[in-house]
Symmetry: C2
Subunit: 183 residues, 2 copies
């Protein structure tokens, strides 16, 4: 169905930076950072993690999170991701963290939430979904550095009202490290 | 330079929602929400506003803010916007608000900042830049509802450390109102 598309980088008229442009027709494919949103979902003092059924990082554990879609608010997107990945109905309590992953053009807006109704299960993009005590969290099998970061942000925040959201850790302010590079 | 592009909405293979797709070649133009970031810049207790030189809302006042670009952190983007629109070198103090404008697919992440070095001036996208006392703010000439919202968020937060960021106002939780519709 897909024939070759001939994209080149050039500066469109009236702009000051290169954009991905179709050399044939001039269509400009604007690339903007994308918003990932998700939640540390807490039940009985445990946190919910999903084992990924999809690449990247298939088989590794993450919080229910994903790309925000058009027409949603950010809280609606976070609730949809919990529904899709963990069949979970969540109530958002507040914002835990906002991380920039400049290397891949992502901003992650991550919330603290609780189960709004009982029950959860693996959705289509998850192999399994489980609740973990802090000491049971599979630290060596987490999917992304930001999962480490936000779990610690949740732990540090305690159970009360949330204050200012965390940002990137001081040793990775631009979100450029990969796992195994000190994350 | 630009010939007709024949985009239609259809569900790509393996997905569950319609995407803007080229009927000729199958290219999928993913549309994701975009991140706007900016700052309430404070100097001597006054706030900086820029009178827009560009559409939409040319001639109306806004805070220095704009679309985040690839390769930036969100704080870097907010500082760049202050530099571009107000020739201002700012230091970010914390996050004031995160707003969803679902109607147009935007998330706005707005900071409190101060001038890091003296001086400012109208950049290419501004007709003028001024500092306003609270009572001087041209409320009827603000460009967007979220400028109203964030100025009140700044005022309510006081001058000390910032707590949890504000979200949308209760009477517009999805950011669907336009100015003149109760904003």
């Amino acid at each position: 169905m897909s024939s070759a598309i001939n994209f080149i980088r050039r500066i469109p008229e009236g702009e000051d930076r290169e954009r991905l442009t179709c050399a044939d027709c001039g269509f400009v494919a604007y690339e903007n950072p994308k918003i990932v949103t998700g939640s540390v979902v807490v039940a009985d003092g445990k946190v919910m993690l999903c084992r990924r059924a999809i690449e990247p990082r298939r088989g590794f554990w993450t919080i229910p999170a994903g790309y925000m879609e058009m027409g949603e608010t950010i809280e609606e997107a976070a609730r949809r991701e919990a529904r899709e990945e963990a069949c979970a109905d969540i109530a958002i309590e507040g914002m835990l963290a906002v991380y920039s992953i400049a290397r891949i053009g992502q901003v992650q807006v991550l919330f603290r939430a609780r189960l709004a109704s009982p029950g959860f299960a693996a959705g289509a993009e998850s192999l399994e979904v489980r609740l973990f005590d802090w000491d049971e969290i599979p630290w060596d099998e987490l999917a992304f550095p930001s999962v480490h970061w936000v779990l610690h942000a949740w732990r540090d925040a305690g159970a009360g009202p949330l204050g200012a959201p965390r940002g990137n850790p001081p040793d990775d302010p631009r979100g450029v490290r990969r796992l195994g590079q000190g994350a």
